[in-house]
């Protein structure tokens, strides 16, 4: 990825270790000379002599709309969020000059309860951007397989079998998912940060 060479492309879902990127966040669009349409950078292998434009009007438009769509069901309350100042959404907004608020879309947030059941961390579905990184590490790195995506469309969410609170699931509370979450959906409880 371009990141190694100091070029920033917005991304939420791309995981270097994953062989088949989920390409679910739709924020890493770039234009490549010779290809008719913008493509997601995370699914595109680099090749010799490839000319990539990371900022074009088409790319900017796609990213702006994709970003606003993500915010439209996000419980935006940065001041009260554990990830404030350390959040990928904030970073993208800063890098691309986007606003952390809705201008064209209607908010679709519902007040969902925060799952406080695990001892060391908590899970706020209202702040999840469905990037899938937690699900990936839970399956492929820790090999626990406690969490996954359930349902579909607007009700899609990360949950355990039977949608029980995480503390009652097979979750071992290893905390790996919390470490990869790019936003304030999975966060450690106060005294467990950094352990």
């Amino acid at each position: 990825m371009a990141l190694d060479n100091g070029i920033y492309i917005p991304h939420l879902c791309g995981l270097r270790e994953s062989e088949r990127p989920a390409a679910s966040c739709r924020l890493c669009f770039v234009e490549v000379e010779g290809l008719p349409n913008p493509v997601t950078a995370c699914t595109l292998p680099v090749s010799e002599g490839m000319i990539v434009h990371t900022r074009t009007p088409r790319v900017d438009r796609l990213v702006r709309t994709g970003f606003e769509l993500l915010l439209s069901n996000h419980r935006l309350r940065c001041g009260k969020c554990e990830k404030n100042e350390n959040c990928e959404l904030q970073k993208i907004a800063r890098e691309r000059g986007l606003k952390l608020r809705l201008s064209r879309l209607r908010p679709l947030t519902t007040e969902v309860p925060v799952d406080e059941s695990p001892k060391t961390f908590k899970y706020d579905p209202g702040r999840c951007v469905l990037c899938g990184m937690c699900v990936w590490v839970c399956h492929h790195q820790t090999k626990v397989g406690a969490i996954g995506f359930i349902r579909r469309g607007i009700s899609r969410k990360v949950a355990a079998f039977g949608d029980v609170p995480l503390g009652e699931s097979r979750c071992t509370e290893c905390g790996e998912c919390v470490r990869v979450c790019p936003v304030g959906a999975l966060t450690f409880k106060e005294k467990f940060w950094g352990v």
Binding site: G145, G148, F149, I150, R151, R152, F161, G162, D163, R170
Partner: protein, 179 residues
């Protein structure tokens, strides 16, 4: 959902049979779930756990597939099945209010079944009689222009019916005793 007497054994045996027929590859997950549902009428948690063990995949992955597709139901069909139309016309005419009334009255959410398994509640897409919106299909019967009051009426009718049949049973029993 609480299982009833003997149900656990029945589920186990049926799932075993389906698994044997399909083999234990992950690619067979959807056909396996379809077969289990057609045998049992729904996908009990116990069945999904059994399948996940047999296919050696995390149980949440089976649950993920089971909750993604509309064709799968996670709760047993009730004795009476209530389907609230959420098609465009019914939606415009307040279908969600009707759904909410049922949810409140039955104490369950859409997609669930009452603990006594008398009623199951689901939302369906246009049932083809939009002029009668909002429409509810109760068992096979179409209820037209349903209002929250009508919701009470529909459920009351079932209550009376089941009370009556209960009384008749009692009468028959008593008769049997006196003879």
């Amino acid at each position: 959902m609480e299982l009833q007497g003997g149900e656990a054994e029945m589920i186990y045996a049926e799932v075993e049979g389906v698994l044997q027929r399909h083999g234990l590859e992950r690619e067979k997950l959807i056909p396996i779930l379809q077969d289990v549902q057609s045998k049992l009428g729904y996908l009990p948690k116990e069945a999904m756990q059994q399948i996940s063990e047999a296919l050696r995949i995390p149980e949440v992955d089976v649950y993920s597939v089971g909750t993604f597709y509309n064709q799968f139901r996670l709760n047993p069909p009730g004795k009476h099945q209530i389907k609230v139309c959420m098609g465009t016309a019914c939606h415009m005419m307040g279908g969600h209010i009707i759904l909410e009334s049922f949810e409140r009255r039955l104490g369950i959410k859409e997609g669930e079944t009452t603990p006594d398994r008398e009623f199951s509640l689901e939302r369906v897409a246009c049932v083809g009689c939009c002029a009668l919106a909002p429409v509810v299909v109760v068992d096979e019967k179409v209820e037209a222009k349903v209002s929250p009051i009508r919701v009470d009426g529909i459920l009351l009718a079932f209550e009376i019916e089941s009370k009556k049949s209960g009384e008749i049973e009692k009468l028959v029993e008593e008769e049997g005793r006196t003879q």
